[in-house]
């Protein structure tokens, strides 16, 4: 048994923080200050642990531990360095919502921490079973978070839809694992890769079916079309404070799992799955962009735009392992942007509210120039305007696709990105060029949301202007 505590250190630290948080809270009721302290300690500890993993094990030093169950490599470590801070930002953005829930707020903090653990486990898994366990830990926490405000019917609806469709997706994914196991005789990700490299399957039908099911299951989780049906309803119905982490976390964890499964385990079969991924990408980009054009609710529009972004990220994956650094660049920058955009929605339309009609944002520039400026910047970044991280991300994934000879996909992507400008700019026009309602006044911005928005804004511009350090860095964020 090759045990290495560093491999599970991020998870262990977070779980210890969670247990301490719950036990001390239920016994002495120290309140929200204690929740913040425990969460901060857990997240800081986990981030330090993944940073240590990054320093020690990236590149050629990568290895797997606990009977080949958990890997320490640049891939998992980088995923952790995105996920754990993301959970911290999500909690900061959700703080008004957490405080509004009374004693149940502790459970909210715990669920976000557990979800982050599951997400990192998905990225660091060296075995499909481990990956599935991480997927479930992550998903089940998010189902509960989506319906956390129990008294609102549309939040209940969102949670139920998310749960039912997510459970179906998990079942499909699990069946995919079973079929891949049936044809290769192992669930180890490295083992599957070795087997497929050394063996010529005369009748690969079972493997093909398994691959398709793995792809469908994960496409559900990252809301790639045509498996995106749940996303708009869930993002719109879930309370404002939750949605950002919901959307950002699902993208990071889902694409980490997808990259590891497709590019590593099934890397030898890239000619079989790459066309399917390319079609998924094209459908997601076109459908997401078209449907975002006609939305009248900011959160719904962001949901469809996240479908389109899932397509752009899939564009990098058609290049297989070569596309992983570009995928990471897009995923990491998009995740913080979407978190911040939903944070603005939660500040303007209410942290416990689901709906965020675009009429709330009419004339936002005069009510809160600061919020309007931040949302405007985020819209520009998501649209892919130069000097923002969104532009570099799009350029990077398109370069990956061109290198893999998918020129048609890049053309679809570029045309859709131009069409997408319309709905991103519509928000900016609404905020800056139309007068606000008479009765709507100044909007106070909670401290946590302020920190999130400033951090994301600085990152988005900084990475947009000087992307090279991150791009060079990401060459080490490769899977085992």
């Amino acid at each position: 048994m090759n045990m290495n505590l560093l491999a599970v250190a991020p998870e262990v630290i977070v779980v210890v923080a969670v247990v301490a948080l719950l036990m001390i809270d239920v016994q002495w009721r120290p309140g929200p200050v204690w929740w913040a302290i425990a969460a901060a300690m857990g997240i800081a500890g986990a981030t330090a642990a993944v940073a240590l993993q990054w320093v020690d094990y990236r590149g050629a030093d990568a290895a797997s531990f606990f009977s080949d169950m958990i890997a320490i490599d640049g891939f998992g470590a980088f995923a952790g360095m995105v996920i754990f801070p993301l959970a911290g930002l999500g909690l900061m953005a959700a703080w008004p919502l957490i405080r509004s829930q009374g004693g149940r707020g502790a459970e909210f903090v715990v669920l976000v921490l557990i979800a982050a653990t599951g997400a990192h486990l998905m990225a660091a898994a060296a075995n499909l079973i481990m990956l599935f366990v991480g997927l479930e830990v992550f998903s089940i926490s998010l189902y509960v978070l989506a319906g956390f405000t129990r008294e609102r019917v549309d939040a209940d609806e969102a949670a139920l839809k998310y749960f039912l469709l997510g459970a179906v997706a998990s079942a499909i994914f699990l069946y995919g694992i079973a079929l891949v196991y049936a044809s290769t005789g192992t669930t180890s990700i490295g083992g599957i890769a070795t087997y497929l490299r050394s063996t010529i399957l005369l009748r690969p039908g079972v493997l093909m079916a398994g691959m398709a099911m793995l792809l469908v299951g994960l496409a559900f989780k990252v809301s790639a079309a045509p498996f995106h049906m749940w996303a708009p309803d869930v993002y719109q119905g879930a309370p404002g404070g939750v949605t950002g982490f919901l959307a950002a976390g699902a993208k990071v964890a889902g694409f980490a799992a997808m990259a590891r499964v497709l590019a590593v385990a099934l890397g030898g079969r890239i000619d079989d799955w790459a066309p399917a991924v390319a079609v998924l990408a094209a459908v997601s980009i076109v459908l997401g962009t078209l449907l975002a054009l006609v939305q009248s609710d900011l959160k719904r529009m962001l949901a469809y735009s996240s479908v389109a972004h899932a397509g752009f990220i899939l564009t990098a994956l058609v290049a297989g392992a070569n596309g992983i650094p570009d995928m990471w660049f897009y995923v990491a920058t998009y995740a913080v942007q979407v978190l911040a955009a939903f944070t603005v929605a939660s500040v303007v339309s209410g942290a416990t509210q689901g709906r965020a009609p675009l009429s709330d944002y009419t004339g936002l520039a005069s009510r809160s120039p600061w919020l309007a400026g931040m949302l405007g910047l985020l819209m520009l970044a998501m649209a892919g305007i130069p000097l923002t991280a969104g532009f570099v991300g799009k350029a990077a994934v398109f370069r990956s696709a061109i290198d893999a000879d998918y020129l048609w996909l890049v053309i679809v992507g570029v045309v859709s990105a131009v069409a997408g400008l319309f709905f991103y700019l519509r928000v900016i026009v609404l905020m800056y060029m139309q007068a606000a309602d008479e009765e709507s006044g100044h909007i106070p911005v909670p401290g946590g949301a302020r920190v999130v928005l400033v951090a994301v804004g600085v990152l988005t511009v900084l990475i947009g202007v000087v992307p090279w350090p991150l791009l060079t860095w990401l060459r080490d964020a490769l899977p085992l």
Binding site: M1, V15, V19, L22, M23, V26, Q27, R29, G31, P32, P96, L97, R99, S100, G102, G103, G105, V347, V348, G350, A351, T352, E439, G441, H442, I443, P444
Partner: protein
């Protein structure tokens, strides 16, 4: 594994479904069909039922069922460990110990939160006060 190994199962399935179909079909054909309200009652004799058998019952049952599932799954895990107890050795004991500790933590939390109290009135008294109401955005 060849499919022929499943042949007995297939025959069994055929026999079972055939038996059900034949006996139901025969009784449908042969038996006289003459329903009266008394015959359609759930019980032909005894007290006349006043309520529909399907009715609302307290949501507390679901909570108990959910808690039961948590601890039931614990037992499932422990069985797998018990079968390989000697091979797993101290590593197994350590892993199961951590697992059980986490479940005990769950039990303590659930208990302290009052989820095991059947009497809702007492539970609502113990529920913590709302920390601070959400301030609506400036109206």
């Amino acid at each position: 594994m060849s499919l022929s190994a499943y042949l007995p199962i297939a025959i069994m399935a055929l026999l079972a479904s055939g038996f059900a179909a034949i006996s139901l079909g025969l009784s449908r054909l042969i038996a006289p069909h003459n329903p009266t309200p008394e015959k359609l009652d759930p019980y032909e004799c005894g007290i006349v039922p006043l309520q529909e058998p399907v009715q609302r019952f307290p949501v507390k049952f679901y909570l108990v069922a959910m808690l039961f599932v948590i601890f039931d799954v614990e037992i499932v895990f422990l069985f797998a460990w018990a079968v390989r107890f000697t091979q797993l050795g101290w590593y197994g004991i350590g892993a199961v110990g951590i697992f059980t500790l986490l479940l005990i933590e769950t039990l303590v939390y659930v208990w302290k939160r009052g989820a095991l109290d059947w009497n809702v009135a007492r539970r609502s008294r113990r529920r913590p006060a709302v920390v601070e109401p959400l301030t609506e955005k400036a109206a």
